[in-house]
């Protein structure tokens, strides 16, 4: 047997266990892109992260089909955002022990929206179908806690790889805390500056970074309609905002009309779905740059 053959044989023997390790990858299903990004960063090559929602759908209002729900049921872990984000989970059956509610650590700090009409019937009394603000990760300190919840779940699932997960978590935490620090410093430049946001998704961001923010219910890709413009006029009379924050690039027509009202537009993307370019971190860095234009 030649030396080359012996080397190939050795390589083959050593490669076998590595192949076995590759097969041990766990499958993780998530409900939005930020959690997918966190899971990928923390899990690295040891996990296979699946976020099955189509990119053109807001995952918060997405309803997976039965086949996708069955895939979720089979996953090793199901990473939820919590705070009422994934409404579809209320209607389906998921294995409780494999579900990770990443916002559980700060559940007593969740913001409840109490604007809905209540109704009553039968002996149970009045009740409301109001919800909870769910864009938790826009407070980057909360995003850190969500990442920690993912780390804990991974470590329980693959205890042998805890060190890898821990190192990856530290790296992610460093990035998130950097974003948090930038936003915190920036918000002190113009404390109490009146702002409006096009959509009610910035509650946690406003709370964490002391933003004087009022929110309307507009979509960036549609004209809000005259009644909403009227509502905005009334709003800025009481709350003289010079900037409107959008979740996506708004229609030029809307930008123009806002300019006529002396309101400039700026994008702060919540990054619900995977961006076409970059990743969660780069989108958030761009958001902070955009906020810099407002808070400089």
């Amino acid at each position: 047997m030649s030396i080359r053959s012996v080397l190939i044989l050795f390589l083959f023997i050593f490669a076998m266990p590595l192949q076995g390790m590759a097969e041990k990858k766990i499958t993780i299903y998530t409900v939005n892109y930020p959690l997918t990004y966190f899971a990928e960063r923390i899990g690295g090559d040891l996990v296979n992260v699946v976020f099955p929602a189509p990119s053109n759908v807001d995952p918060a209002f997405w309803m997976p089909d039965k086949a996708t729900i069955r895939e979720y049921q089979k996953a090793d872990l199901i990473i939820l955002n919590g705070a009422g984000y994934e409404k579809w989970t209320k209607k389906v059956s998921l294995p409780m022990l494999r579900v990770v509610d990443t916002s559980k650590a700060f559940k007593d700090k969740l913001i409840h929206i109490e604007t809905d009409v209540t109704h009553s019937h039968g002996p149970s009394g009045d009740h409301s179908h109001g919800g909870t603000a769910f864009t938790t990760w826009l407070d980057f300190s909360q995003a850190v806690q969500q990442a920690e919840a993912i780390y804990k779940a991974f470590s329980r699932k693959l205890p042998a790889n805890t060190t890898d997960f821990s190192n990856n978590l530290e790296s992610l935490k460093k990035d998130l805390l950097e974003l948090d620090a930038q936003m915190t410093v920036m918000s002190t430049n113009k404390p109490g500056l009146s702002l409006v946001a096009s959509h009610p998704i910035y509650q946690y961001m406003a709370r964490r970074y002391n933003l004087n923010l009022k929110m309307v219910m507009w979509e960036p890709d549609a004209d809000p309609g005259e009644s909403e413009w009227k509502h905005l006029h009334e709003l800025v009379n009481a709350h003289p905002a010079g900037w409107m924050i959008w979740e996506e690039e708004p229609l030029p027509k809307s930008v123009k009309r806002l300019q006529d009202m002396n309101i400039k537009s700026q994008v702060f993307s919540p990054c619900f779905s995977k961006p076409q370019k970059g990743n969660f971190l780069s989108v958030m860095q761009q958001n902070i740059e955009n906020m810099g234009a407002i808070l400089k």
Partner: protein, 391 residues
Amino acid sequence: MDSFYLAWRYLSYTKVKTFILVGCITIIAVLPLTLEILLDESERQLTLRAESSPLLIGAKGSALDLVMNSLYFADEVPETIAMEALEQVMDTDLAAPIPLFVRFKARDFPIVGTSLDYFDFRNLQFAQGEKFVMLGQCVIGAKVARKLNLEPGDHIVSSPETLFNLAGVYPLKMKITGVLAPTHSADDLAVFVDIPTAWVIDGLGHGHQDVAKTTDNTVILKKEKNNVTANAKLMQYTEITEENIDSFHLHGDPAAFPLTAVLVVPYDEKSGTILQGRYLENETPYQIVQPKEVIDTLMANIFKIRNVLDAVIMLVGTATLLALVLVFSLSLRLREQEIEVIFKLGCSRATIAWLLGAEILIIVLISAVFCGGFMALVQYYDQELVRQLFI
């Protein structure tokens, strides 16, 4: 051979007497053997199930009721605990908790409200179909499917708790998504639903037309700025379908919703011990039990009863045997003339004794056949008999 023929002819002639004798001997033999089989089977079923269920958390009260309801889905429903109890276990990071809400029935079969984790924990396989996916769906045990002739795609309706509760909850029509493979345990006789579906059956959640949007004013009692009060005419859905699932909602905080028990699977022995220690305080409204200990105590009591039963059976058996001896001796007296005739015909005393012995032997053999047949039946239906008689 002639003796057997004559004995057989005699027994055929005295049918009633033969029937009574065979009946008596069969019963004497069958009673202790049946008891033995059923007790062995009950011990096997109870112990196996208890051994595979590490810990149970429930309301303070009868530990036996808690174990019997949670493990064997028995009728006795323990006091409920809040869902919060499960979350507390989850927060300890010491064990995996599986919820159980076993209170309702569907066509006399217990409805077991639990999570999908229960199927993994008990390693339940599917003979047909798959796990439930949506609210309002269910999975049925092998015997439920067989007895009711049901398969995936069919429906089963929950039974109202009481016929006289006019304000009670509506029965829920549940779609069957899967049938479990036989396990020869209580799981074969259960209808499994997700915990929120069990809460809907309990009336804690329901679906109805949107009262804020309805144009039918006859269902509205009072309409205020922020509140709409509907009257009893408001139609509630009795089946959860893809069309109306969005209207289904739970009333209140799910953390306060009821469970009958939490099945707790500690991650290791140490975690189990620590967890048990946490429920020893008097202030806690919960008790934590080791099903095996509870069942061992139950089995010890059963064995005490078994000894008493054995003694009773022995006494009754002895009395019956004595009665049989009496019947035979009286029969011999009645047959004195007949025996005399046989003797005069030239039969020896030994032949006569052999003839009488053959009669007894035939009676015993017939009893043995009946006894064997009965025992085979008991053996075949022992699991079901145990579940109906003991569990």
